[in-house]
């Protein structure tokens, strides 16, 4: 059993990977705002993270695939921006920064209310279900995105749970966006896809 506590933001001023305030090294330099619709540039010179869109995540629907690619670019930018880390609280930090970036610089088809929406009642309602993001360019949800950090993957049961809560069928893809594994669509073959390292 591997027993390590998560790498937190605790950093000494003298550490090469920290600044005096305890932030990841270079974090201010990585705040890239070029005023475009995706201002945190994913080709930043400090880029470290690798976020690739697995071919299985591409649906053939231009609007969904475009949103997927934009979210992938954003995720990569956020990871470069935040810097490396591990542990449950690091995962929360990445999610929070990602949410913040989507609020400040929205992606077309993903409004503020489409980030962590609550289905089955408002926030706090018992038995409600909350996908990470829904892509809703019009009235209907066209895709559901689920962020995963580290080695986590989304299972078939969770994907069905999300679809049922949103009120959509299997024609609506549940797309996993992973901070370390790239992006893959949730389908019956996802387990095989992961095992084959696709």
């Amino acid at each position: 059993m591997k027993e390590t506590l998560g790498k937190g933001p605790e950093r000494d001023a003298g550490e090469p990977n920290s600044d005096a305030a305890g932030y990841p090294a270079g974090i201010e330099n990585r705040i890239l705002n070029d005023g475009s619709s995706d201002p945190i540039r994913f080709d930043a010179r400090y880029a470290q993270a690798t976020v690739t869109v697995d071919p299985s995540a591409l649906t053939g629907h231009e609007d969904i695939d475009q949103a997927t690619q934009r979210l992938a670019n954003r995720l990569k930018s956020v990871l470069d921006f935040v810097g490396p880390g591990s542990g449950p609280l690091y995962g929360i930090m990445v999610h929070e920064v990602l949410k913040g970036s989507l609020r400040v610089y929205p992606i077309e088809g993903i409004k503020v209310g489409d980030v962590e929406p609550s289905f089955g009642g408002g926030y706090g309602a018992k038995d409600s279900i909350r996908p990470d993001i829904v892509f809703r360019p019009g009235l209907d949800v066209r895709a559901i995105y689920d962020w995963k950090t580290g080695g986590a993957v989304i299972g078939a049961a969770r994907a069905e749970e999300l679809r049922a809560a949103v009120g959509v069928g299997r024609s609506v893809p549940v797309i996993q966006m992973s901070l370390s594994r790239g992006i893959a669509i949730k389908s019956n073959r996802i387990f095989a896809a992961w095992r084959l390292g696709l």
């Binding site: 059993m1 937190g8 449950p88």
Partner: protein, 151 residues
Amino acid sequence: MGVFVFSDRRLETLIEWQRATELELLGMVFLAEGAIEDLRGFLPVRRNGVETGFECSHRRPIEVMEMYPDIDLSRDWKHCLALNWRGDFDECLVGYSGAAAYARATDGVVFDPQDGLVLSADYALQLVRKMNEDVIQWRRVTADTVARMKP
């Protein structure tokens, strides 16, 4: 994000789970009642005056084991509880705390798929206490980082 709790027995009711959290002095209060087997979705919790919570559902243990073939769970388990939370420090803390207490009460283990860790209940509780110590700093760093993104 979330964790799984593997165990050979289930707690029967939320009252039992509540007692398990109280034994560990986790300071959380379930804002719902009912049977554990009926849990499907968000479970509201109050902690430190904050109304928060996490999602909780049952999974087939074999399904989760197949999702993570490289993870050594040492043995087969009869039950698996999936706890999910969104990108929120309060939800993470009560979710992890709830999982640790549930594992302790059922002699189970906590599996954290993010970091690929299988944790004994004792270690999960230790991690929860460490997270509670660290969370103020994490909140500050996160808030500052988000603030710096604003136009």
